[in-house]
């Protein structure tokens, strides 16, 4: 057993307690305006930042394939045309095909 590894496991478990478990047991008295922010606006804000974070993380690595693939995934999801699995296969295939195309000097 490696001591740093178990320190890492303990750190992650403590983090889960602090950021995931503790907030669900705390119910402060909240004004209606603040409640509106927390229940309607905050979730939308989280998802906007998720999308930006994912796009940034992947575009930094493979700019053109990630940008095109994630744009297609976002468009398909917004148009509600294909299910999750189909879109995942489409987006992933497009990404690796584009990388292969760029690698062969086709771009």
């Amino acid at each position: 057993m490696s001591e740093p590894v178990w320190a890492a496991i303990a750190a992650l478990f403590t983090t889960s307690g602090l950021v995931r478990i503790l907030p669900t047991f705390i119910s402060p008295r909240i004004a209606p305006r603040t409640r509106r922010y927390l229940e309607r606006l905050l979730p939308a804000a989280v998802f906007i930042n998720f999308a930006v974070y994912i796009a940034y993380s992947e575009v930094v690595r493979e700019p053109i394939p990630a940008l095109l693939s994630l744009a297609v995934v976002g468009a398909v999801a917004c148009l509600n045309r294909l299910g999750l699995i189909g879109t995942a296969v489409l987006g992933t295939t497009l990404y690796f095909v584009l990388i292969d195309g760029i690698g062969r000097g086709g771009w």
């Binding site: 602090l18 995931r20 669900t24 927390l38 804000a45 994630l70 917004c78």
Partner: protein, 204 residues
């Protein structure tokens, strides 16, 4: 699965891979602590890093708390199994069995995939895994799909759709700027707060 492969390559045991997946249950943070543990970092250093990266769960946990059952043990278990994918999959009307189904299936899949990855990491020759192959891309695609689907449901049917969509685009641009300034670890809280304020100006 990729985490399991990489952890075994860094000399983690199967028990350690399963333990961190069960007790930590966090994709990006598990990858982040791999090099920290390898360099011998202490508990508080790693706690600072892991709490910073996962600070985005504070608002997520708070906003999804109303769906959780009232029994303390069940509530704590479900809260621990909260992840990005579960939050993106759930609806406000979900509760009880529905939440258990979503969260437990994702949690179990994560733990099992880590174990399978660790087992594979022991048998796959090193030269089979090219260092430049992005094995985590499908996970990014899934999270992008779920985020876009949630945003469509929340923003598209809004009374002031044009204004709200414009605010969302502005917020996305500012989030990119904040990533540049603070980095992808520390941008979360200021960016989520700024986005909330911007949306609040136009959302009826």
């Amino acid at each position: 699965m990729l985490f399991g492969v990489l952890a075994v390559r860094a000399d983690w045991s199967l028990l350690e891979v399963v333990a961190i997946s069960l007790l930590g249950f966090s994709g990006s943070v598990q990858f982040a602590v791999l090099p920290l543990a390898e360099s011998g970092a202490g508990f508080f250093t790693m706690l600072l890093v892991t709490a910073s990266i996962n600070s985005r769960y504070l608002p997520i946990a708070y906003t999804s708390a109303a769906r959780l059952p009232s029994a303390a043990g069940e509530r704590a278990c479900l809260a621990h199994m909260l992840g990005d994918e579960a939050y993106a999959t759930e609806h406000e009307r979900d509760s009880g069995a529905g939440l258990w189904g979503i969260r437990l299936s994702i949690f179990a899949a994560w733990v099992l995939a880590g174990l399978v990855g660790a087992l594979l990491g022991r048998v796959i020759p090193t030269n089979w895994l090219g260092a430049d192959v992005n094995l985590g891309y499908p996970a990014s695609v899934v999270l992008m799909y779920l985020s876009a689907a949630q945003l469509r449901a929340r923003l598209w049917h809004n009374e002031r759709r044009s204004a709200v969509l414009a605010a969302a685009v502005l917020s996305a641009g500012l989030a990119l700027l904040l990533i540049q300034w603070f980095g992808p670890v520390y941008f979360w809280i200021p960016s989520i707060l700024l986005t909330t304020v911007i949306l609040g100006r136009v959302w009826p």
